[in-house]
Symmetry: C2
């Protein structure tokens, strides 16, 4: 499969199939691993990085997880193709920059499991699923890790655990996260309190695209901060606990909104739908905000459309590089707003059976 | 017919039947007349004002215009019923205040011709029609005036013409006006230039409810300022001339918009429709602005719905007193916003066959 083909598919984690998938878009796990025989990526020579990449490609056939997996060499991808991978949450913006080094990504067709090679660490084993499925994504990366560890020598310290390029990942090398939609907490201004509570239990909150990105459309990424001194099971259980509490708080605030401001809430939701279904120009930011309201409405059963899967998928394809791939040409920012509005309108029309206005 | 029944009817001038009715909502003419035997209304006693009212009611049968006409005694109307007449552009806010004086309005069921009695002048003969029909409304008030003048003695000076309570109406006592929709001139910011040009030829521009009211929804009332020293025909021809020029300018600016900003224009129009069709809360001001965009879209054939008649009728029934009459009870301002949004949504649904999104 090429990137051009990938664009016309939707990743499995967008299908809104997991538990709480109206609130939790996705669950993700990644393990940072480095080969013992090679210096960390930032200090390794091109030849050494090549060695890392080739080692992984060589053992591919022997792994049940990796043998049917696709491989993309970052250096052979155009700038826009790399951005497609970023927009699909498959590679980091740092990897997309491409420093003329042996770097790449292995991924399955469903985009559930993947391995980033020679980003900050030699290997980043990743899994992503729809809804609250932290145990499931952990099981995937753990299984992949077990197989690879039998075939390649990891950099490991008896005292510290897995050694990583950045000290913040040392130990388990595990980061688990959820992408969660918290519109009611934002509307009732309880979100700051929640974010503080999350920080107090050693978790981190980020924006839609991870570290250093802003919150868009009331989507938050909650992940563990600590990788050292705790077992993987402890890390995952802590995250599940806090996420479950946040979900309950969000649901409680939704009831508060219905009780105290039902007309304002319904108005906000229906207007958002009306604009999504009719606008001829849409920026990404406005799309994210309107689609947040639409998701909230559907989730609270105030509306019967659009379904979460459609909203999830639109969130991916309205991004600049996806739009340009779908258009088959370079689009100026102003053209993208037109194209984005067209795609949103058409997708919502297709999936709307009988709107109950 | 009672006011309660009136509320469920729509005035003839809302049917969007006249020339240029996509731009010119209505044409109106009124003649200020006073009886020679009675002091002006502000100086007359209650008995004298009674005499004016009774004189008119007495001759009613002898007039082809007035014999089948309805009569409402302002003193016998509740505050909300009076406001209904104001919202239908039938009586002035001043008459609606009601000073416990013999005051009233005669009007036909179609609300085309009417006579306000004992407002600023003893009689205000009025006619209103859809679209650009200034000659037609003039013919109506002129005919009514001819009949009445044969039956009652008007206050008239050979030198000045008809004498009126306010010097600004002395002479012909004629005011002709159009209610015109100029969204493109507002969008391209050419409107100030146009308003200055209108003032220079001795015409006045006012807001939606006449003197001292603000411009809502890009609707302007253009009327003659001068009533003295010009014949009625001259006054009407001057107004037709300037209105025709303004229409041409507006149409030219619409073409400019399509040429220079077609996506922005279509976006504005479709969003307005999307909000009108979906909102659960609508203030009068927002309705007027959105309906202005919807009217522009329909007028430029960028959309196929809603029709002008629906938009015109909505403009009347979304007003506070109409909403309360239709609800059958007093509504707080916040309740009116809910009720207004419901009415707009339902009317647009009824009149939308197959939207071509």
């Amino acid at each position: 499969m090429t990137i051009d083909q990938l664009v016309h598919h939707f990743a499995g984690w967008l299908d809104s199939s997991g538990e709480y998938s109206e609130i939790v878009i996705s669950s993700r796990a990644r393990l940072a691993r480095n080969l013992d025989s090679v210096p960390f990526a930032s200090r390794a020579s091109k030849a050494e990085l090549s060695q890392v990449l080739n080692s992984l490609l060589t053992i591919r056939e022997q792994s049940s997880y990796l043998k049917d997996i696709l491989f993309f060499d970052i250096n052979q991808l155009s700038k826009i193709d790399r951005q497609i991978l970023v927009e699909r949450h498959l590679i980091s913006p740092a990897l997309a920059e491409g420093k003329d080094q042996p770097q790449g990504i292995l991924l399955d067709e469903q985009e559930v499991v993947s391995v980033m090679v020679n980003e900050e660490d030699h290997l980043r084993l990743q899994a992503i699923q729809s809804g609250l499925q932290l145990q499931e994504v952990w099981a995937l990366v753990d299984g992949m890790d077990d197989e690879i560890s039998r075939l390649l020598d990891y950099s490991f310290s008896e005292k510290l655990g897995y050694l990583t390029a950045c000290p913040s990942n040392v130990g388990t090398g595990l980061r688990v996260s959820v992408l969660i939609h918290l519109p009611a907490l934002v509307l009732t201004q309880e979100i700051e309190k929640v974010l503080r509570a999350i920080a107090q239990v050693g978790m981190t909150v980020r924006g839609f695209y991870g570290e250093g990105t802003e919150v868009l459309g009331n989507f938050f990424q909650i992940s563990n901060q600590v990788t050292l001194g705790k077992s993987e099971e402890q890390i995952i259980k802590s995250l599940i606990k806090i996420v479950t509490e946040v979900i309950e708080y969000e649901l409680k605030e939704r009831q508060t909104l219905i009780k105290d401001a039902s007309y304002q809430l319904e108005d906000k939701i229906w207007r958002a739908l009306g604009i999504l279904e009719n606008a001829r120009l849409l920026t990404t930011e406005e799309f994210m905000n309107l689609s947040s309201a639409a998701r909230l409405g559907r989730s609270m059963e105030l509306t019967s459309h659009p379904d979460f899967k459609t909203l999830n998928q639109l969130t991916v394809i309205v991004q600049p590089s996806h739009l340009q791939k779908l258009a088959g040409r370079y689009l100026e920012s102003s053209e993208r707003d037109i194209f984005r509005a067209n795609i949103v309108r058409k997708r919502l029309q297709e999936t709307t059976t009988t709107p109950e206005r």
